[in-house]
Symmetry: C2
Subunit: 373 residues, 2 copies
């Protein structure tokens, strides 16, 4: 195999497909990037069998062939080479020469015969949305998936996010047993309803390689076991998680006793200050004392105590309620509006944090108040 391409194009392709390469695997072939020039283009693939990414680089193929190269060392080499044309050539033993300017690297590749190519999918309907919007809804919900899921069907679904298409809108939801994040946005067209659970890890990696803006589309298709994302020269295939996701709408309430409108930046800064008194792993709650026009926030730990007042707009009853400060901060970080709205029922019921347009709804359980006084 021999081909020539531009070094920065190759670097960007290598970095894209590397997102699907496991850090360590019992199958060393999975730690490789597959380069295949036998199908009409220079195609690079990374695949950890749950998530697979394939992308095509422009360039000139001189001899067709296939080689699997260790992803870490190959991407380091491409990253450190100077800009210009890069020539990659392999011999019959998969010894691979990488030349760029006056620099010549030789590394030993592997045959691609054991490599898992991306599954060939029968594409059904596909949904089109902007890359920026997809990146945004992932960022706004991914943080509340369950990190350390136990091996039960219910917990396994919580390692993923529920992706739903409702006609002209798409919604992502995640939950970890303490809070639920849901974010819904409008689509340009109307599509059939759909409901799948996508692994959080896959969404996380996709959001890193979706570099396009509001004008750049991504096409999403579904099969019974897979979800496929296609954009520019890149295809991303992820397995779906089987099972039934928690009914996130069950939590939604119409009735609340207290509604608070608060400046997001000041509120974030205050809780951020409060958390410096809480050591990692320590579960000290922050207490909110909501009164007419004012919220007092209080926290105390072995390190000291903090008390701070903030102006708010309040309607409804006064309330005193306590939360894990991290869970409140996580939601505030992904809200882009200047103000947030918080809805309380009582000091033991879940509270709702919403952005102004209510496209974002975050449900968080309070901490039992009696134990924290």
């Amino acid at each position: 195999m021999k081909f020539i391409c531009n070094r920065s194009d190759l670097l960007s392709a290598v970095q894209t497909v590397s997102k699907a390469i496991p850090n360590r695997s019992t199958m060393s072939i999975l730690e490789c990037i597959l380069i295949d020039t036998t199908k009409g283009g220079i195609s690079l693939t990374g695949n950890d069998t749950e998530l697979g990414i394939q992308t095509v680089v422009e360039g000139q193929i001189e001899t067709k062939g296939i080689v699997a190269l260790d992803a870490k060392i190959f991407s380091e080499i491409v990253r450190k080479l100077p800009d210009g044309d890069i020539t990659i050539e392999t011999d019959e033993n998969y010894k691979t020469l990488i030349n760029c300017g006056k620099a010549n690297f030789t590394i030993l590749g592997k045959s691609g015969e054991d490599y898992s190519y991306l599954p060939e999918l029968e594409k059904g309907d596909s949904v089109v949305m902007s890359q920026m919007a997809l990146r945004d809804i992932i960022r706004k919900t991914i943080f509340s998936i369950l990190d350390n899921a136990e091996d039960t069907p219910a917990q396994q679904t919580m390692k993923g996010e529920l992706l739903e298409i409702f006609g002209d809108s798409i919604r992502l939801s995640s939950l970890d047993g303490h809070r639920i994040s849901t974010y819904r946005i409008q689509l340009k067209d109307v599509y059939d309803a759909k409901k799948v659970i996508v692994p959080g890890k896959s969404l996380n990696e996709i959001s890193k390689i979706l570099t396009g803006g509001a004008e750049d589309d991504v096409e999403i298709s579904f099969t019974s076991n897979h979800i496929l994302f296609e954009f520019e020269n890149t295809k991303v295939v992820s397995r779906l998680i089987e099972g039934t996701f928690f009914d996130v709408d069950k939590m939604n309430i119409k009735d609340y006793e207290t509604k608070v409108k608060i400046n997001k930046k000041q509120f974030t800064d205050c809780i951020d200050r409060a958390t410096l008194l809480v050591k990692e792993g320590d579960k000290k709650p922050i207490i909110f004392d909501v009164k007419e026009g004012n919220i007092t926030m209080m926290i105390s730990s072995i390190l000291g105590s903090m008390k701070e007042d903030m102006e708010i707009e309040k309607t409804g009853k006064d309330i005193m309620i306590a939360f894990n400060p991290k869970f409140v901060l996580d939601a505030l970080k992904v809200i882009d509006d200047e103000e947030v709205e918080i809805y309380f029922v009582n000091s033991k019921a879940p509270c709702f944090i919403k952005n102004t347009s209510e496209s974002y709804v975050y449900v968080v359980l309070p901490v039992n108040f009696a134990t924290v006084q």
Copy 2:
């Protein structure tokens, strides 16, 4: 004690004195910042008994007093408070209230009675130089001190740098058994000769808090056991290391067989690329094959091999010589000139890397060539 000062002034003072606070100490009082308002100003001190830093903050003292506050938690609080006036007030039990805007923190301080104040020094002659220059000579030599010194007198001196005053110039030197860095700069005035060994850790911390430019001076004074740096509102006192430093001038050579002039950036990039084939802890050398007008650099490891040519200006004999690539890179990183000069004697003798003005001289031992082929 009660005083009011500006929050950003206080933050900067806290960050300065924190450089002398040990991360962990068997004496918990050393993990504190001492605040003393009894001597006419608001003075903050950090002191790990080897290095002590004291700085004075502008502000208004309402009641005089002394308190020792945990450095980590106090600096985090000051860092996260909003800008504005900050009031600090302690009661007779050293309970300390920190107020800024609507935020109120309460932490428990300690009595300052066990705190080690900076030693009172009888100042002799002092040397004046610009803060920028001092920062620069430290940066250019500190990297080759011996990190893991054994408990022998000779190794203990190698944990420090030799600081020498020769009339109108100052020189810092460091060595670790594989290489020597020396950097000499001119002073504006003429001073008595001086030769002391300053702990590398002290120099490292000083270089971080010397934020002034070429116009901002630092005054350096010496006693038999200490060195004192004074600038703006800050005093830094460090113990000196006793012992005899290796005679760095012994290594300097007049005769060389080969002289190479090389573009620094290209040379650095090439060695940097080569090192990606060397895993941490692996001691693969880079081989330089110096010929008329050209240097070929080669490295090989279990990961692969690299070969790269570069144009050079050469005078003298051809030579083939091998080095630990990290040791060459370290020197190149601190040379600011576009070109560097390298002097070789033979493949077993130390080689010299110099900047254009020869103010910087770096001596590095080659790797035994026979074993690397």
